[in-house]
């Protein structure tokens, strides 16, 4: 028996992130690079570390190799202690056969044993694909104050965007009275952020019942929450104020990276009190060459900039040759922009190359952001 925990986290990291296609061809979305030196999962894991939640089950399914390697022992997030840590939880076989995770709720259901191991009072359910900084202890305090069965973290969205979200309608106490998935005519603008705190006993009972239902999609939003509302359980909102972004599409991924470049960014990577932790190899400092020009950009270690970088995110171990120019772009780790090349309004995948004097991307704002996949080569010797 492991040491009993008050609250453990279950982090859903099995999704393919198909809308990020070229960047998730060989890696799961939570392992996609973000913000120069981070991977998307760093933000949720760092929130756990900074909230003193030291036991995190990471549910993986799609292309887990790179994600598993990245998580390692959990040391990078101080989660390699004796009691707790990071646990990778893939689908597994039992006496009655083997099955994939059939939905978010099913993934947790199949790991009830893991929850039982720590016998927590509360279970925090997270997604591994959001960029935000949150004190989960504050949410837990709110959960306890309301003696809630389930707390759903929500944030106000502009009314016209509400139809794109799962919308919670709550009374003046914050008790949820209605949940509508992508409502055409929303009566609330409180969008679910996909962050839940369950009282553990309520969660287990709900999961076991849901598993028995052959008509269920085994989804938290689609099945578990509506079921609990029907049973008149105590569901409360936790209203989050602050920066939160789903980076599930190229345009939101690109835009959220660009927002880091503002003089006073809404999301401050530099906040020393709640640092974003990551598992990085030691890279030497970046070298900015004699004729280089870097402006309104962030640049990660190990990079070599000989050309011009303007309003861009340059990740670890990137090379930008003489006379090359990068503008309004996100360049992922290990990418190479050869001499004289021009990259504008683009996302370049890991270890991708734009060859000498090639032009990738377009200034024309009506053209979508150009995306070069991981390991791809654009220009002479690659695709044109």
């Amino acid at each position: 028996m492991a040491k009993k925990k008050e609250c453990i986290a279950m982090l859903l990291a099995g999704g393919q992130g198909s809308r990020l296609g070229a960047l998730t061809k060989s890696v799961a979305k939570p392992a996609v690079s973000f913000g120069g030196k981070y991977r998307i999962i760093d933000f949720s894991l760092s929130n756990c570390a900074n909230s003193h939640i030291d036991t995190v089950g990471v549910l993986t399914q799609y292309r887990p190799l790179r994600l598993n390697a990245y998580l390692g022992t959990g040391h990078a997030w101080d989660m390699d202690g004796r009691d707790g840590g990071v646990f990778i939880l893939p689908p597994y076989a039992t006496e009655s056969g083997a099955e994939w995770y059939k939905g978010t709720a099913d993934a947790i259901y199949q790991n009830i044993d893991f929850i039982d191991l720590y016998d927590p009072e509360y279970v925090l359910i997270l997604s591994g694909d959001h960029i935000y900084r949150m004190d989960y202890q504050d949410m837990l305090r709110n959960h306890k104050e309301h003696n809630a069965d389930l707390s759903v973290s929500v944030m106000q969205v502009p009314w016209e965007e509400a139809p794109r979200f799962g919308i919670m309608t709550a009374d003046s106490e914050g008790r949820i009275v209605k949940f509508s998935e992508k409502p055409k005519n929303p009566d609330s603008n409180l969008a679910s952020m996909g962050i839940y705190i369950f009282t553990a006993s309520v969660l287990k009972k709900a999961l076991i019942e849901d598993a028995k239902d052959p008509n269920s999609d085994h989804d938290f939003g689609g099945n578990i929450i509506p079921n609990l509302l029907r049973e008149q359980k105590r569901l409360f909102t936790y209203e989050f104020q602050g920066f939160w972004k789903d980076v599930g599409t190229f345009s939101s991924y690109h835009q959220t990276n660009m927002e880091l470049l503002d003089e006073h960014p809404a999301f401050d990577l530099f906040d020393p009190d709640r640092p974003i932790l990551s598992n990085t190899n030691t890279q030497p400092p970046q070298y900015i060459g004699p004729r280089a020009c870097v402006s309104e950009s962030i640049v990660a270690n190990g990079s070599r900039v000989l050309g011009t970088v303007d309003h861009s995110v340059i990740s670890t171990d990137t090379f930008i040759g003489e006379g090359a120019c990068v503008k309004d772009s996100v360049i992922l780790p290990g990418a190479r922009i050869e001499a004289g090349a021009r990259v504008v309004r683009a996302i370049m995948g890991e270890n991708s190359v734009v060859t000498q004097n090639s032009v990738f991307g377009s200034e024309d704002l009506s053209v979508p952001i150009a995306v070069l996949g991981n390991e791809a080569v654009y220009g002479e010797g690659g695709k044109k």
Binding site: T280, Y287, S295, A300
Partner: protein, 366 residues
């Protein structure tokens, strides 16, 4: 039994490092934007597959232990072997230039007897090089020598290095000081384990001497050879060559050789975000690590983690260490600004290329 174990000595006098060793050891002097001197020795050991490393500490070891911790960054937090922090002797330093004090080795005999191996690689923490110690051991093993000394051609006159005298391929002695072009000892050698144990036993009475002083009369009885290292190697025992060798890192060829991907130099990790360059910042020919925030101008300089260069500030030909702030419109030229200095707006701090200005840790506050 391990093939080789390592010993890194750090218990030596380096008065010429001056202000840079106020409150820290020569081994923990920051270098190359994010590293400490000791990172090269530790990484070279580990990259050669050596998993037992003894670190002989000087008296004031706080900054050194703060940096190396349990050795986890070098994967030396192991069940079998690992990093062994060993005490150096307080009154042991015999003469300037001594790097391998016999007493420091004798005091830590237990490390040697417990971590028995066929060879022992010894080096100091102040050698800047990416040297393949595995190759050094291979050459030593193949030749059947008792001791193999890594050597380089001196790039300039250097009184802090020893000249190695060779006749017919065998070392016949060493002498202090070396002239440009002469063969210099790279403060790194491999010795056959049994011989080292015997020497430590025989010469107990004169253990206040340096290892190479102790064996000075024995070269005719032993097989001591050289291993010529052709790569980039500098030793840093003085502030003046600290500055010059830091600036060498602005040559990408030098940086590539030191920080090679197949033999990485590892260091203590801090979770600093990537460096941020504001609109209007001008950075050329400089090393900038994570955690820096640049709004002004930086030319021909090496910055360390967490440095802020405010609007209108100019940093030229300088080294700015961790957590310094260069205030608005301040000018810093030909200087080493040690860590945690806050340079007030408009201040002008200038040394000259021949007389680098050094500001100690925490010397200036706003």
């Amino acid at each position: 039994m391990d093939r080789a174990i390592g010993i890194i000595t750090t218990n030596y006098d380096t008065p010429e490092l001056r202000e840079l060793i106020n409150g820290r050891t020569a081994a923990s002097v920051p270098f190359a934007g994010r590293y400490r001197m000791i990172d090269f020795a530790l990484s070279n050991m580990v990259n050669a597959g050596i998993t037992s490393v003894g670190l002989i500490t000087p008296y004031k070891y706080r900054s050194l232990l703060d940096h190396v911790g349990a050795g986890s960054e070098w994967s030396l937090d192991r069940k079998s072997g690992g990093l062994f922090v060993l005490p150096g002797s307080v009154f042991g330093i015999s003469s300037p230039g001594s790097r391998f004090l016999l007493r420091d080795l004798r005091r830590n005999l237990v490390f040697l007897t417990r971590a028995a191996a066929r060879y022992v690689v010894l080096t100091t923490a102040n050698v800047v090089a990416n040297m393949d110690f595995a190759d050094l051991i291979n050459v030593h093993e193949k030749s059947g020598a008792d001791i193999t000394m890594a050597c380089v051609d001196a790039t300039r006159d250097e009184k802090n290095l020893s000249n190695v005298h060779v006749e017919n391929g065998k070392v016949t002695g060493t002498s202090k000081g070396v002239k440009a072009g002469e063969l210099a000892f790279a403060d790194t050698f491999v010795v056959t384990y049994e011989l080292l144990m015997k020497l430590l036993e025989w010469y107990g009475a004169i253990d206040y001497l340096d290892f190479f002083e102790v064996i000075s009369g024995d070269y005719d009885k032993m097989d001591v050879r050289t291993y010529k290292f052709e790569g980039y190697l500098r030793t840093i025992y003085a502030a003046e060559n600290y500055f010059r060798n830091s600036m060498n890192l602005l040559n990408p060829a030098v940086a590539d050789e030191l920080f090679r991907k197949d033999r990485p130099i590892m260091t203590k990790i801090t979770d600093a975000p990537p460096a941020k360059y504001a609109a209007g910042s001008k950075v050329t020919n400089s090393l900038i690590p994570a955690g820096c925030h640049i709004e002004g101008t930086v030319e021909d300089s090496v910055l360390f983690r967490g440095v802020t260069v405010c609007k209108g500030a100019v940093v030229k030909n300088s080294i700015i260490m961790q957590s310094c702030t260069i205030g608005e419109n301040a000018v810093v030229e030909n200087a080493i600004i040690d860590r945690s200095n806050k340079i007030a707006p408009g201040t002008v701090l200038k040394g000259s290329p021949d007389a680098i200005l050094i500001k100690e840790k925490n010397e200036l506050a706003i």
